[in-house]
Symmetry: C2
Subunit: 370 residues, 2 copies
């Protein structure tokens, strides 16, 4: 009978700044005093049980000293906490403390914290602003650009969530010094992935400076934090909603994510991705897109970062093959992989298509090799 | 050390069409075949236990007949289902059925269904498209324009959710005939609210045509469906994120939502809002913004729609006063009300400010009067 058009075309500006440096806690407070999030005076600091004592309590204290109303919400550290139940518990705790829509969330921690807190911010009061204070290399590499937030469910990782851009990201390199060594190494896999897919020059740099990086030397760390942001930004900018190009960031993740789940999170995300990268350079070599020498360089760099390059014995290979089918790139029930091309590039199979179908047999073969 | 700006400025077009008519099921299928949601071939029909047999099963059948892959996800009818647990169960059921990011959600039902399904769509795979097939007057009046989706929690109604615009809204007036009478009356309260705050002409129309409307006569129903959309649209367009003007849509809801909760949902949303409107015209009269005659006209119109105009005896008045403080308009711990001005207008207290502080004593007084 009647048609009515709801016109909702508008310009949206989600731009934000990433600040990289040493001990940025006071800078954060200063920015808030200077109106980073407007007139908001109430802050919910979300963190995990490890980062709480290391940094979050200090930030909470600084917020209170500055006259803001601030509370801290802590969950058990680890990927297993990145679930709907934790989101719910934090929401209820915030409601109980009287937080309404006039608040801002500050995520202090690694990738799990920023993913979870960003998701909470996106649905609390239908969206409140949030700030990421990244305390791990992985968060710096992975969570600072892209706006992806999510939780895991028993049936899928990262499938429930939303795109949500922070007001600002702080990458505090000083915090990396307090990371357990295994976390530092783990964080390097996303960095290596970025070099593999986008920059042979950065790959060379990593080959030459791995010791300085793992020793958390200032210049080397600033360089990798910035390169990570730049590479990811260039990809994400061109494809914010992950329709085509953005799939390249999935390099190493097809096998990586599956191993992470099958290991029941005994492997850290970065360790699993490292193994995934090894699997995928084998695939690339097999498909003729990488020489054996190039393949070996990638494996050597991963080893140099003290990351695993083969599948642990406790992983059931058949479970792993089955798990591959839960990957989000799967289409019409068939596996799809991003394929590296030499060092610093990926294969574009058709214009805008950066993943190719791979048979289960091929997948089983490369998994058998490593 | 280094600052990096992530530039994310862009034009977003969330425009969509609202189609009002009789028996629009085939039109929906036709629109999908003509690319309403692009190439998507998988549909999740979300509905409640009442609407399932009335319409959703039929729509599911038409989808399957048209060659689409479609499944239906049903939850127990009622406001009590609008919670995170139901969201979680539907998500898990969709995952189990193999729904990934290449699907579209079709909400078939009233306000609870459209609120819940719109929220699920917003976070499933970080956002999939959704369509609203509204089968109640309330959904037509309330949920078709505005993009508000949410669930309730024990501590707050509608506080966890997001703004999410549908691809299209169908208002099928034929479905109103199958509504229980109480639901039809309940649906009128949002319509009366719209007339109260925006149009004395529409208010006159309602006074003169209430019988035809409650008898679901075609012309009268189309008129109210369209007026509801127009009034709400004019408000929402000017203030999509509910910073100021949009609060006018909260007329009658300060007391209404509180009564709804304190009644433990024995009162339907619309019934509670009707009582809330009565409370708030009393407030308006007391503050000098409405004559006694205008106040009585509003109360009479509500009665004509067979809606309650006084607080049921089983409601504890003190519990109700306490509950008012959980309202989202509360600021600095103080109650705030939208105030009607004559018929068809609201008070703008300062430029852009449409709610005013009201003391607990004043609130208790008007609650005592009705």
């Amino acid at each position: 009978m009647g048609n009515f058009c709801v016109e909702l075309k508008k310009v949206v500006d989600d731009s934000y700044e990433i600040e990289t440096g040493f001990e940025l806690e006071n800078k954060l407070i200063e920015d808030l005093q200077n109106g980073l999030v407007g007139n908001i005076k109430k802050f919910a600091v979300i963190t995990d049980s490890i980062v709480k004592d290391l940094y979050a309590t200090r930030i909470l204290g600084l917020l209170n000293d500055a006259g803001f109303k601030a509370d801290m919400f802590v969950f058990e550290a680890g990927e297993k906490s990145k679930v709907r139940k934790t989101k719910e518990e934090i929401e209820d705790a915030m409601l109980l403390k009287g937080f309404r829509r006039d608040c801002c969330i500050i995520a202090v921690g690694g990738g799990v914290v920023t993913d979870l807190a960003g998701f909470i911010a996106g649905t609390y009061g239908r969206g409140v602003p949030f700030i990421n204070y990244a305390t791990t290399l992985l968060a710096a590499a992975d969570a600072s650009v892209g706006g992806k937030t999510a939780v895991d469910t028993p049936l899928a990782t990262n499938l429930i969530g939303l795109f949500n851009q922070p007001e600002k990201v702080y990458i505090d390199i000083a915090t990396w010094k307090t990371l357990p060594e295994r976390q530092i190494y783990s964080g390097m896999s996303e960095t290596i992935k970025h070099a593999c897919l986008a920059s042979s020059e950065f790959f060379n740099y990593l080959e030459q400076h791995m010791e300085q990086i793992l020793g958390i030397e200032k210049d080397a760390c600033v360089r990798i934090a910035e390169e990570n942001c730049k590479i990811k930004y260039n990809v994400v900018m061109k494809d914010e909603k992950e329709s085509g190009l953005r799939e390249v960031l999935n390099l190493g993740h097809t096998v990586g994510r599956a191993i992470e789940t099958v290991s029941d999170y005994r492997l850290l995300h970065g360790e699993a991705v490292a193994i995934g990268l090894v699997a995928e350079v084998h695939l690339s070599h097999k498909l003729g897109y990488m020489t054996e020498e190039e393949m070996n360089r990638v494996v050597a760099l991963i080893e140099k970062a003290k990351l695993p390059v083969s599948i642990p014995d406790y992983i059931n290979r058949e479970d792993l093959v089955k798990k591959l089918y839960t990957d989000k790139k799967v289409r019409d029930g068939k596996l799809r992989f991003v394929v590296q091309k030499g060092i610093g590039n990926v294969v574009e199979f058709e214009p805008g298509v950066f993943a190719t179908f791979v048979s289960e047999e091929q997948a089983r073969e490369i998994i058998g090799e490593i």
